[in-house]
């Protein structure tokens, strides 16, 4: 497998448990290989061969002059962190009380990360997470300590410059301890001619009664590939509320696997996607209800134009003893051109009998009567379409609690 045959040096080869994990991952990846069109979980959005044969791990240390950081000036206060070309280049100073942020290597050297690293998923099921583990080198370990209510979001900006075709494996571990509350925003962008393959894995642990609001936005170059895996575990009474916003990219896939492991844990996994060129957006979810009285809700809406393709795969799994749970899912897509395509695959696996579950999917064009009504009031057709599209997606953005964050997410799509 050419991807593994990269002669590079990674930190931590003197830490036996850590190097052992990477070695295990290399073997797992060699065994399972990359997904193809025949891999069920990837059948709608498999990679063309050259996407994965050419990217190289970039070993040159990146000295960021900061100009790309300015481009993302935020309209709200945040704890700002930055990756540039896949390298951690900036950690905010003066952190608020109750938040610990450390680079991956540091938390690995003193072993603090050990209870969390690769503990939330099985590599055999996720080829790109195995690849990510095989090249573990860069990432963050973020802890919100028990009872802390963070009053500003943590903002992770990932920026890519043009230049070599990079493979970037980043691992973030986010731990929200008992009763804490935080907002995490991830923002992916790059120069318009940048070529790269981002392979991001976030392991997220939401403690008892804790809340994490996780918002992710990507709008990237037409040659960029983006694969992100959110492996989330939610304990008793904890809440994971998320929104995935996909824009342009050659292929962007965000897979959120949420395990509701204890009673009264809940998750909201919402998404929007809007593409007008020839990219592919794939939002894949897997909500696992493993305890009674757990709730999940998903609303994903997309707008496709040009030759774009949208994929939604949503799985809800309800374990035999997860009684009195609710699991709802709705996917809707606007398909504005003949060349655009949408693929939707809902899967419900219900092994308990006292549950409320539903799923639904629709696709269609903008409403001709609404467009005419607006035109008959003087609003030009293009503007009317834009208003209707925004109104359509707004339903999802309204689920974001902080309106300033919601507006910002909207404006970046």
């Amino acid at each position: 497998m050419s991807l593994l045959k990269q002669d590079i040096s990674l930190f931590g080869d003197n830490i036996p448990w850590f190097e052992g994990l990477r070695e295990k991952a290399r073997k797992a990846f060699e065994r399972i290989g990359l997904p193809t069109a025949k891999t069920e979980a990837w059948k709608y959005s498999y990679f063309k061969e050259d996407a994965l044969n050419k990217p190289q791990i970039d070993e040159t240390p990146h000295e960021c002059d900061g100009h790309c950081h300015d481009a993302s000036k935020l309209p709200f206060a945040a704890v700002e962190l930055k990756y540039c070309n896949g390298k951690l280049t900036h950690i905010a100073h003066d952190l608020p009380c109750g938040i610990i942020i450390r680079p991956l290597y540091e938390a690995t050297e003193d072993g603090e990360i050990k209870p969390y690293l690769n503990k939330s998923f099985d590599m055999e099921e996720f080829p790109f997470a195995a690849l990510n583990t095989a090249f573990l080198d860069e990432g963050l370990f973020i802890v919100i300590t028990a009872g802390t209510i963070l009053n500003m979001p943590i903002y992770l900006h990932y920026h890519q410059h043009s230049g070599m075709n990079r493979l970037c494996n980043i691992r973030n571990i986010i731990v929200i301890e008992k009763g804490a509350k935080a907002t995490l925003i991830e923002d992916f962008d790059g120069e318009s001619d940048a070529r790269y393959f981002d392979n991001i894995v976030n392991e997220i642990y939401v403690g008892t009664g804790a809340i994490l609001q996780h918002y992710k936005r990507q709008n990237e170059a037409s040659e960029a590939h983006h694969v992100a895996f959110n492996s989330v575990q939610v304990k008793s009474g904890g809440k994971y509320e998320s929104l995935i916003a996909h824009g342009e990219c050659a292929l962007a896939r965000t897979e959120s696997c949420v395990r509701l492991t204890q009673e009264n844990a809940s998750a909201e996994v919402n998404g929007v996607y809007r593409l007008a060129q020839n990219g592919v957006s794939d939002i894949t979810t897997n909500i696992r209800h493993l305890a009674p009285h757990t709730d999940s809700d998903q609303l994903v809406k997309g707008v496709l134009d040009g030759k774009a393709k949208g994929v939604f795969q949503g799985q809800i799994h309800i374990a035999p003893d997860a009684q009195q749970t609710t699991g709802y899912q709705l996917h809707r897509a606007l398909v504005l051109s003949d060349g655009a395509e949408v693929d939707c695959k809902p899967e419900l696996e219900i092994f308990a009998d006292d549950v409320k579950c539903s799923h639904g999917a629709t696709s269609g064009d903008l409403d001709a009567e609404q467009l005419f009504y607006m035109q008959a009031r003087g609003i030009p057709l293009a503007e009317a379409r834009q208003i209707l599209i925004e109104a359509y997606l707004n339903e999802v953005f309204e689920k974001v609690e902080d309106t300033a964050v919601a507006e910002w997410l909207k404006g970046r799509l």
Binding site: Q370, Q375, A376, R377, I379, L381
Partner: protein, 255 residues
């Protein structure tokens, strides 16, 4: 001298997709300041006429011409016709989930201003204009914040249409069944709104079944429309005659 506002000459039009002809050689001239009423049986295609004048793409003109202040309407998009001053109040105003009434109205007013080379109104200026008009037509602030027409009662929808008429100040207003589903109070508000806007420089085309609205908005001409064209033109007396004896005297004898 009377000024021709809308001139329809020997117009034929039908459904774009199927080619089915609905309007067959219709002639109608509306001068500035006049009020015309079109009456006719259900299914005669009265609403089709309003859509053809405003340019709905479901319908295609197959013959004749339509001039608005001398300008050929057939080559203009619906939004251009609206911006030139043609206003259509639909029988069933369309609901648009996700778009607030206030936002919709602001887009509308500014689009029309922009087309006519007038500066667009900023948020404060627009709000001032809107509040004044809303008060006049008994439209609450709460209603302005709701999604346009979504969950509005029949009366609320029609009041909203008249509010738009007042905001846009068109030259020609086509009221398609503006009276349907209205109680007496709502009918009064609609009629008063229309009468307030109406003057010697603008015109009205009212499509209706009922005398109620015509008693409140006095038409200068009443036309009977059947089988795709106007079969009889008269004044208010004709409308009153229809009220008692129906359309049977004016329809083609059925075989």
């Amino acid at each position: 001298m009377t000024q021709k506002l809308l001139e329809i000459k020997n117009l034929s039009a039908g459904i774009a997709e199927s080619g089915k002809e609905i309007i067959k050689g219709l002639n109608l001239t509306i001068n500035a300041g006049e009020t015309h009423a079109i009456m006719g049986p259900n299914g005669a295609g009265k609403s089709t006429l309003s859509y053809v004048i405003t340019g709905k793409s479901d319908y295609a003109v197959t013959g004749g011409e339509m001039l608005f202040e001398g300008q050929n309407l057939c080559t203009l998009k619906p939004e251009e016709r609206a911006a030139l001053g043609i206003f259509l109040s639909m029988q069933s105003p369309i609901e648009i989930p996700g778009v607030t009434t206030q936002n919709f109205l602001k887009h509308s007013v500014n689009a029309v201003r922009k087309y006519n080379n007038l500066p667009e109104l900023d948020a404060a200026e627009f709000l001032k204009l809107l509040r004044t008009a809303a008060k006049e037509f008994d439209v609450s602030t709460d209603m302005l914040k709701r999604e346009i027409n979504v969950g509005f009662s029949g009366g609320e929808k029609k009041r909203m249409e008249i509010l738009q008429l007042s905001l846009l100040q068109p030259k020609l207003a086509i009221l398609d069944e503006a009276d349907s589903g209205l109680d007496i109070d709502a009918l009064k508000i609609v009629a008063n709104g229309v009468n307030q806007w109406h003057n010697q420089n603008n015109s009205l085309l009212i499509i209706t079944h009922h005398l109620d609205l015509l008693k409140r908005i006095k038409p200068d001409f009443v036309h009977i429309y059947s089988d795709g064209h106007i079969v009889k033109t008269g004044d208010m007396a004709l409308a009153e005659e229809l009220e008692t004896s129906g359309y049977k005297n004016y329809l083609k004898a059925s075989v």
